[in-house]
Symmetry: C2
Subunit: 339 residues, 2 copies
DNA sequence: TCTTGAAATGTAACCGGTTCCATTAAAGGC
DNA sequence: GCCTTTAATGGAACCGGTTACATTTCAAGA
């Protein structure tokens, strides 16, 4: 029944209720010093006029948006979802809303980094797996808008990180300790415009193998497009080598699952003939009894959100680097090498 | 180097550049009537002071947020991602930003429906797969904020829908035409607080079977939690029946893939011994050569976003219902029944 | 009864932009 | 050279809230 935008404002309410706009505002923000009778009268008027305060005006007046933004790539990947849940859990009980900005291509990242602090209307920012350049980091740290990095780091900012190098070591060490010496590493492309976690894990893998006196075998390192399907193809290649590996360290659970998919097709029993270890501990890993490195994804979301809230709450916080824990979860896809 | 929020405003710029704030505003919005010399002087000052206009103030002044919101459940599912891409494609070339609100549980839906029109700051809304109640629909249609429904419908609103009943018929009809009579339907829970697409597809399936004179066999209908993993379990149950089906219609590609996963384990060849048809045509379906019903997910996003932009552009549009097309894609997982 | 102070309310400035309208400066017409 | 137009610019109101401060109300204390 409404015609063209006859928006009711706080002044309309004030007029109808026969009070001042200040009083209406007080009622809306349930300030304590409004007489009960007045309060009721104002509420009645608000209902009657079907009045809704304009959030934009409010934001301008109080100088805050009560919104925090999160920029992250690959929103569809299970590991990112897991972190997101951690963030949401914390924010749900705060006064802040969460707005998600998805980055699929590097250009988007730069566009967001450039604009968000200005064009977007957020009080704080979480940036996941997207390492800023020095210049961008400077912008963030000198900006009015506090920023917390999750899963990437920069000396000028607050960061929540996992030690991917150590994670790579842990996975490789587990396989070595089981007696394996033909250990392959199956991964996303190591060179990426996003956070090079896979590269660190790779370095950890190389390190442990070297320590164990296992010569580097380039054929055992295979990289390719992310995703379960592609992992299958890569796994097939590895397992068809003349001298196939007896263990595969996949840089993500999703890829490890791809390996589990194809092994039966090739008549390879897991874990008897092939040990497989993943990384992340996503829900599907539990279901498939996949041995993996739990990198506390959920917790990284929780910690990041909490840190941002602290800063927004006024806590003075210098740049820092906070680690989430790593845990080797031994399940059913790894076993001692049979001679 | 900055201390506590010494935010530079348009007035600071005006003062430094020795012009009026009106002129600065004109420069910012590159209005035509500013002399070239003045324009340069103002830009120089803007750079010098490192000034960034406050978007909130601008929004308040112009009365628009230049943001559109999308509410959708299961943001992690491939089918929803596909729609989202369609939306983003259209919005990318518009002046609007997209903000995503994810709904995982029904309560969130109601909270968003209640608040968004008021608390949130968007110019328009897209609602995906979340049918509003009559009351909510009334609120939307009488609200200042135009709303378009995608994948659900209501007589009072603009809707983009797919004919799930017909889709169910198409899938079932395909199998019947291939000679199958033992046709199972594997699905998410039919009762859902979200859009009951699966129920419509189910109805279509029942209808076609009845027309073909195939008696209803309750054992052949199995419902359960969504997801590939759960689909495997359900598929196993179906295929272990005393008189197993020769064809399975899965209500989503993800579930169909689950069926493809387990069939080999049970020694069942596809499509020779078992025909499988999915629904959605997600990217993985292409890769796995899955026969499926393409419900133009991407296109539904495109159409929905376009319609919303039209309305925001001033087009008067009465409630309507626009269908996206359905196509049976015959690939390699369905085949004639062998006697 | 008159103070006095707390409680309740009102006034008006402010947040940081946009834009209508008035004013001034420059250019064109005769 | 003067008047009319047009181009540039400035002044100030406005968007719709919040809030510091001033003012009024009213009950308690002297």
């Amino acid at each position: 029944m409404k015609n063209t935008t006859p928006t009711t404002t706080i002044r309309d309410v004030a007029k109808h209720a026969n009070v001042s706009i200040a009083t209406v505002s007080r009622v809306l923000n349930d300030s304590s010093d409004v007489k009960e009778g007045t309060r009721e009268k104002v509420w009645a008027t608000i209902e009657e006029l079907n009045y809704t305060p304009n959030p934009i005006a409010r934001q301008l007046a109080i100088g805050r948006t009560l919104t925090i933004g999160i920029i992250q790539p690959y929103i569809t990947l299970p590991s990112y979802i897991e972190r997101l849940r951690g963030v949401q859990q914390i924010l749900a009980s705060s006064e802040y809303d969460l707005v998600i900005f998805n980055v699929d291509i590097p250009e988007q990242k730069d566009a967001y980094f450039r604009d968000l602090s200005r064009k977007m209307r957020v009080d704080g920012m979480l940036i996941v797996s997207l390492p800023p350049t020095d210049e961008q980091a400077d912008n963030f740290s000198s900006s009015r808008i506090p920023t917390v990095l999750i899963d990437s780091d920069h000396p000028k900012l607050c960061c929540i990180v996992a030690d991917d190098l150590e994670g790579g070591r842990m996975a490789a060490r587990h396989l070595v300790e089981l007696g394996h010496r033909k250990i392959a590493y199956l991964t996303d492309y190591l060179e990426t415009p996003f956070h090079p976690a896979m590269k660190f894990r790779y370095a950890g893998y190389r390190e442990v193998l070297e320590e164990a006196g296992i010569p580097y075998q380039p054929d055992y390192v295979i990289e390719g497009e992310r995703g379960r399907i592609n992992a299958r193809v890569m796994a097939k290649r590895l397992l068809s080598l003349d001298d196939p590996p007896t263990a595969i360290f996949a840089s993500s659970d999703t890829q490890a699952l791809g390996v589990l998919d194809v092994a039966p097709e090739l008549g390879i029993k897991i874990p008897e003939r092939l040990s497989v270890i993943g990384y992340d501990n996503i829900p599907d890993a539990v279901y498939n009894n996949l041995t993996t490195i739990d990198q506390s994804l959920h917790d990284s979301g929780v910690k990041g959100a909490q840190m941002l809230l602290d800063v927004l709450g006024g806590l003075k916080m210098p740049p820092c680097k906070k680690y989430v824990s790593l845990n080797l979860l031994k399940r059913k896809t790894t076993a001692p090498l049979l001679y």
